[in-house]
C-alpha cells in the first residue's frame, strides 16, 4: 500500500499493558508521573459491558482549546496561568474551574491527556483530527460521521450526517463520496436551510410533475440506459423531496422543547446546537457535529478560554444529562475535541499558541469507560520545548482516537477498501486505546 505522507504511525507507541507502561515510563525517569495506575484501576470497576453505540456526537472546539484551561489544568505551576482546578466525582481527577457543571459528569467520561500530532496549522490539524489522517495531496479521507454512515444502513428520511454551526472545514465524505458530507446548518433557532418550498404546494407539485414527466424524459432520450445510476440526480431529487415532507424534520426544531430544558443548554447557538443534536440522535441520525469557535487565544488566553467555557460548560453537561434522560447515552458516543491544544508557555501577550504535543480529548457514552484518565502532561515541562514529547506520558497519536472510536462502534477499521484512485485504504491506521474501552 502506498502512503503519501510520513505518518505518525511510524513512531506510534507500542501497545503496552498498564503495568509495563507504568514501569517503562518510570524507567525512563519521568518521576513526575502520578496516579495513572490508580485511575486506570478505577476504570476497571466501571466496566459494565454495554452494547455498541449507534450514533456519534462530536463537540468540535474550533481554533484549538487550551488543555490547561479545560481538562488538564496545572494550577500553581509556571505553566498553569490563572486557572484553578476543581474536584470531580472521580477521586484524583481534577479539571479546570470553568467546567463546574461538566465536572459532575466526569465519572461518565474518559479524558485522554496525551494526544499528539504533527500538525500545528488550523486547517491541516482539523483535517487530521476529523479524519485520523494527515492531509494527503492525492486523496481526501472521510471523517468519522461519513465512515459511520457508509458502514451502517438506515431508513432515515433526513440526512444521517449533520454539521451544526460548521466552521470553515466541516466533516466531509472524502473518497467515500459527497453524499457522505455532513449536511450543514446554522443556529437551530433559525429554520434549516433549503428544506421549505418557495411556492405554494399546488404550484410546487406542478413544477415537480413538469420536471419528472416532461423535461427529464427529454434529456434521458438516447443516453445511457441506466442514466440515473450514473448521475444519481433523480435519486437525490426524490430523497430531497422525501426530506422536505418528513416529520423527522421536527427533530431540528428545538423550540419544541420545554423552556427549562432549553435553558439548561444555555441561550447560545452552540447550546441550541447540542440540544438539536440530542433530538436528531433520537430520530436515528448517525452523526452530529456541533462547532463552538473562538478558542484561538494567541492573546489574553485566560479570559478568551473562559469566555468560551461559559458556553461549553452548560451545553456539554446538559447534553450528557439529556442523553441519560432519554436513555440515549449508551447508544451514543461523544467526542469533545479541537484541532490541537495550546502551549504550556504563556506568551508576552498573555496568550497561548498552537500546541499539538500533548493535548486533551474527551470521550464518553457507549462502550467508553467513565471516570478514566489516560496519559499525563508534565506540570513542569522543560522550558526549551526542544523535545516536547518527553513531557508527555503515554503519548497517543490522533489516529488512535479514531481507532478507539471505530472499535467502540464495531466498525472494522482495518479492512482495506478500494478508493476511487485505486489505492487501498483502511479507515484508521491507529491502535485503539484499550484502557478506555469496555469489553464488547
Amino acid at each position: 500500500m502506498t502512503d503519501g505522507t510520513p505518518s505518525g504511525h511510524c513512531g506510534s507507541p507500542e501497545h503496552f499493558s498498564r503495568r509495563t507502561l507504568l514501569q517503562g515510563t518510570l524507567g525512563a525517569g519521568a518521576l513526575w508521573l502520578t496516579h495513572v495506575a490508580e485511575r486506570l484501576a478505577l476504570a476497571d470497576e466501571r466496566s459494565r459491558g454495554r452494547k455498541a453505540p449507534r450514533s456519534v456526537i462530536v463537540l468540535w472546539l474550533n481554533g484549538g482549546p487550551s488543555q490547561l484551561e479545560t481538562f488538564d489544568p496545572h494550577p500553581g505551576t509556571w505553566i498553569g496561568g490563572e486557572t484553578r482546578a476543581i474536584d470531580t466525582p472521580v477521586k484524583g481527577l481534577r479539571i479546570g474551574s470553568g467546567l463546574a457543571r461538566t465536572a459532575e459528569w466526569m465519572d461518565r467520561l474518559a479524558v485522554i491527556r496525551s494526544v499528539t500530532s504533527k500538525e500545528g496549522d488550523h486547517e491541516r490539524a482539523t483535517y487530521n483530527m476529523k479524519t485520523g489522517f494527515r492531509p494527503d495531496p492525492t486523496l481526501v479521507h472521510p471523517s468519522i460521521g461519513a465512515v459511520l454512515c457508509h458502514q451502517k444502513r438506515d431508513d432515515v428520511e433526513i440526512p444521517r450526517h449533520v454539521s451544526i454551526l460548521p466552521g470553515p472545514w466541516p466533516a466531509r465524505g472524502g473518497y467515500l463520496g459527497d453524499e457522505y458530507d455532513a449536511f450543514r446548518m446554522g443556529d437551530p433557532a433559525n429554520p434549516i436551510p433549503d428544506v421549505r418550498r418557495r411556492v405554494p404546494q399546488e404550484r410546487f407539485r406542478r413544477r415537480v410533475d413538469d420536471l419528472l414527466n416532461v423535461v427529464e424524459p427529454a434529456f434521458a432520450r438516447g443516453r445511457l440506459q441506466d442514466l440515473d445510476r450514473h448521475t444519481l440526480h433523480q435519486h437525490s431529487f426524490r430523497a430531497a423531496l422525501r426530506m422536505m415532507s418528513s416529520e423527522q424534520l421536527a427533530a431540528f426544531d428545538v423550540s419544541k422543547e420545554p423552556a427549562s430544558v432549553r435553558a439548561a443548554f444555555g441561550d447560545t447557538p452552540f447550546g441550541r446546537g447540542c440540544l438539536a443534536a440530542v433530538r436528531l440522535i433520537g430520530v436515528g441520525v448517525r452523526c452530529v457535529e456541533v462547532t463552538l469557535s473562538g478558542w484561538d487565544s494567541h492573546a489574553n488566553n485566560h479570559s478568551a478560554q473562559h469566555a468560551r467555557l461559559e458556553t461549553l460548560d452548560p451545553a456539554m453537561s446538559a447534553l450528557i444529562r439529556e442523553l441519560h434522560e432519554r436513555e440515549l447515552f449508551d447508544d451514543t458516543l461523544i467526542l469533545c475535541a479541537g484541532e490541537f491544544g495550546r502551549t504550556p508557555r504563556i506568551n508576552d501577550a498573555g496568550g497561548r499558541d498552537h500546541w499539538p504535543h500533548g493535548f486533551s480529548v474527551v470521550l464518553g457514552g457507549g462502550r467508553i469507560r467513565g471516570g478514566v484518565v489516560y496519559g499525563e502532561t508534565n506540570a513542569n515541562p522543560s522550558r526549551d520545548e526542544h523535545d516536547p514529547l518527553k513531557d508527555v506520558a503515554l503519548p497517543r497519536p490522533v489516529e488512535d482516537i479514531h481507532a478507539t472510536i471505530y472499535r467502540a462502534l464495531e466498525i472494522d477499521y482495518e479492512k482495506e477498501l478500494q478508493t476511487p484512485i485505486g489505492r487501498p485504504m483502511t479507515f484508521s491506521k491507529g491502535t485503539p486505546i484499550g484502557e478506555i474501552l469496555e469489553e464488547a
Binding site: 510520513p6 458530507d181 413538469d210 427529454a218 432520450r221 445511457l224 450514473h230 476511487p420
Partner: protein, 550 residues
C-alpha cells in the same frame, strides 16, 4: 445579507436608466466583434486535428464501437463556455453566434472566449488548484488570490506555458510583488522555521508538472509497482532516493528579507529508511539527467530540465489536465498519475508532441482539442444504445457533473438576458459574486479533487429547489431577471418558451416540450404568466441536463 440587499437596491436604480437591448428581435443585434481565428484554419493545426481524429477512429474501429454523430453548434458552444469560462452562453451571445455562417461559428466563438477575461480567470483557478491547492494558508507569507490573478494575467497574454512554469519553479522575490513565488511559499510550515519545504515542493512538482505521483517514495522504495522509472528499455522501480534527490533541487530555496531567494551551495540531508545516519543527498532528477542545464541555481536547473523539449512528461501533464478541463475527465486517470513509460493513449502523445513543437501554446492546444471529433460528438444517439464503453473510448461525449462554480455561474447567466462578464455592470458582477460564493460553499466544493467522478447529493438538490440563488434570479424583477423580461418583451407564448430554453439549456425545446409549455402559458391569464415563466425557469434549472455537462 444587508450588503446584498443594498447592492440590489442600487442596481435597480442604475438599471432603470440602462435598460438593455431587446434580444427578441434578431435584427437589432450587433455584429460579433471578433473575426474568425486564423489558427483554427491553419494547415498545420488542421493536420494535427486530422491525426488526432484518425487515432480515435482507429480505436473505435478496433473496439467495435460506432461513435455518435456530431452535436449541434450550440451544444458545443455550451461545452466550450462551461469548460473555459465556467458558465453558459448568454442569449445575447447565442443570437450573435447564430448570425454567423455555420463554418465560422465555433472558431469565432472560441476566439470570443479567449478574448474574454472570464477565460483567463477560470482557467487560472483550475491551474492554481493543481499548483497550490485550495488552502488559503498563512496570509502573511502566502497570497493565494495574488497568485491566481497573476496566473490569470499570464493566460490572458497567452504566455508560453514553459516560461510560466519556469517562473513558478525558479522565481525569486516577495510573494506580493512576484506572485509566482507563492508556489514556493505555500509550503512554509507554520510549525517549523518558516522556510520552504523541499519535500512538499518535490511532491507538488512531480504531480503538477510531470503528472506523476511519487509521494509514496518519500517514505520508502516502491514495492507495489506503482512508480516505474528508468527508460523503456530498462524500467526500474522507484526508490526513496529518487524522491529526495528531486527534493534536493529545492534545498537552496530560502525565505529572506528579499522574499524567496537561493542560498547557493546549501545541501540537502536525509536519513533514508534503514540507515543509521542522515546523508548529503545530491540533486538528481528521476529520469533524463542529461537534460539538466549546467549553470544556474538548483531551481533554475530543475526548471530548465522540466521544460526541456525532450521532457515529454511535462507536456503530457498539461495536455491531460487541459483535456480534463474541457471534457470534465482526463485522458489518463487519475489526472496526475500518468505512467512515465507507456503505453500512453495516442491522443495524449499527438497532443503532447504538437504542444512541444509549437512553443507550449495553451490556446493552440485548446483549439486542437475543441476542433477534434471527440469534443464535437453528441452525448446522445437515436441510432444505438450508448454504453459505458462509448464514454470510455470517447465515442460519445462523456456525461460529467458540473462543478459548483459552473452551476452558480450558469444559474446567474441563465437568468439574465445579457452577458455577465467583465464588461457587465460592476454591481451585477458583485451580486453574482456574493451569491455564488455562498452557493459554492453549500453545493460542496470538491477542492483539489475536482476531476473525480461523483453523483449528485441531496444537499445540491435542496439548494437548487429551494435555495436563495435560484429564487432571487428567477422571481419577478423587471430590470434584471430574464423571467420578467421575457414576459414583458415577448408576449408570444411559443417564442417565450423557446427563449427560456435558449437561456437556460442553450437549446430549443423539443416539439413535445414546446407544445406542452406553450399550451401552459396560453391557457394562463396574462396577469399570472409571470408565475408560469418562473416555474419554467425553475424546472429547467432543476433537471439533470442543467447540472451535467453533456
Amino acid at each position: 445579507m444587508w450588503k446584498k440587499k443594498a447592492l440590489l437596491a442600487v442596481l435597480a436604480a442604475v438599471g432603470l436608466l440602462t435598460i438593455g437591448a431587446n434580444f427578441f428581435n434578431d435584427d437589432r443585434l450587433e455584429e460579433p466583434s471578433v473575426s474568425v481565428v486564423p489558427a483554427w484554419k491553419s494547415t498545420d493545426l488542421r493536420h494535427t486535428v486530422a491525426k488526432l481524429d484518425a487515432a480515435f477512429e482507429e480505436d473505435w474501429k478496433a473496439a467495435g464501437l460506432q461513435p455518435t454523430s456530431r452535436a449541434d453548434d450550440l451544444t458545443i458552444a455550451r461545452r466550450i463556455a462551461l469548460g473555459l469560462m465556467g458558465t453558459i452562453p448568454s442569449l445575447e451571445e447565442i443570437r450573435a453566434l447564430e448570425k454567423l455562417p455555420p463554418e465560422q461559428r465555433l472558431p469565432s466563438w472560441l476566439e470570443h472566449v479567449f478574448s474574454d477575461r472570464r477565460y483567463a480567470d477560470f482557467i487560472a483557478e483550475r491551474l492554481a488548484r493543481c499548483y497550490v491547492g485550495t488552502k488559503e494558508g498563512q496570509f502573511i507569507l502566502y497570497r493565494r488570490r495574488r497568485f491566481v490573478s497573476w496566473l490569470s494575467d499570464q493566460l490572458a497574454a497567452n504566455r508560453p506555458y514553459d516560461s510560466l512554469v519556469r517562473d513558478l519553479v525558479a522565481g525569486n522575490g516577495i510573494w506580493t510583488d512576484e506572485p509566482a513565488v507563492n508556489f514556493i511559499t505555500v509550503t512554509l510550515d507554520a510549525n517549523e522555521e518558516q522556510q520552504p519545504d523541499p519535500v512538499l515542493l518535490a511532491g507538488a512538482t512531480a504531480r503538477a508538472f510531470l503528472g506523476m505521483r511519487i509521494d509514496c517514495l518519500q517514505c520508502h522504495d516502491d514495492r507495489l509497482g506503482t512508480v516505474t522509472l528508468g527508460t523503456p528499455e530498462e524500467p526500474r522501480e522507484g526508490l526513496q532516493q529518487d524522491f529526495h534527490r528531486l527534493a534536493a533541487f529545492y534545498s537552496e530555496t530560502e525565505l529572506s528579507l528579499l522574499g524567496v531567494d537561493d542560498e547557493v551551495g546549501r545541501g540537502y540531508r536525509y536519513k533514508f529508511l534503514g540507515e543509521d545516519h542522515d546523508e548529503l543527498v545530491p540533486p538528481v532528477v528521476p529520469f533524463g539527467q542529461e537534460w539538466v542545464p549546467k549553470g544556474g541555481t538548483r531551481r533554475e536547473q530543475l526548471a530548465g530540465w522540466l521544460t526541456d523539449p525532450r521532457n515529454k512528461p511535462f507536456a503530457r501533464a498539461i495536455v491531460n489536465r487541459m483535456w480534463a478541463i474541457l471534457f470534465g475527465k482526463p485522458l489518463v486517470e487519475p489526472i496526475d498519475d500518468i505512467p512515465l513509460i507507456g503505453p500512453h493513449p495516442r491522443a495524449l502523445e499527438i497532443l503532447a508532441d504538437d504542444f512541444i513543437e509549437h512553443g507550449y501554446d495553451l490556446r493552440r492546444l485548446i483549439t486542437i482539442i475543441v476542433a477534434s471529433r471527440p469534443f464535437q460528438l453528441s452525448s446522445t444517439s437515436d441510432a444505438f444504445t450508448i454504453t459505458d464503453r462509448h464514454q470510455e473510448h470517447w465515442a460519445a461525449f462523456p456525461l460529467v457533473r458540473l462543478r459548483p462554480e459552473q452551476i452558480a455561474g450558469s444559474i446567474v447567466q441563465a437568468c439574465s438576458l445579457t452577458t455577465i462578464d467583465a464588461r457587465s455592470h460592476i454591481l451585477q458582477q458583485l451580486i453574482a459574486y456574493f451569491q455564488s460564493a455562498d452557493f459554492v460553499q453549500r453545493y460542496g466544493d470538491k477542492g483539489e479533487d475536482e476531476f473525480v467522478d461523483r453523483g449528485g447529493t441531496v444537499t445540491q438538490r435542496l439548494l437548487l429547489m429551494n435555495g436563495d440563488l435560484v429564487k432571487e434570479w428567477t422571481e419577478e424583477n423587471a430590470i434584471r431577471n430574464a423571467s420578467s423580461r421575457i414576459r414583458i418583451l415577448c408576449p408570444d407564448p411559443e417564442k417565450a418558451v423557446e427563449v427560456t430554453y435558449l437561456c437556460v439549456l442553450t437549446r430549443r425545446p423539443t416539439p413535445r416540450e414546446a407544445a406542452y409549455f406553450t399550451q401552459r402559458i396560453s391557457e394562463t391569464p396574462k396577469q399570472k404568466r409571470q408565475e408560469v415563466l418562473e416555474d419554467l425557469f425553475w424546472v429547467l434549472i432543476n433537471g439533470t441536463e442543467f447540472s451535467w455537462n453533456h
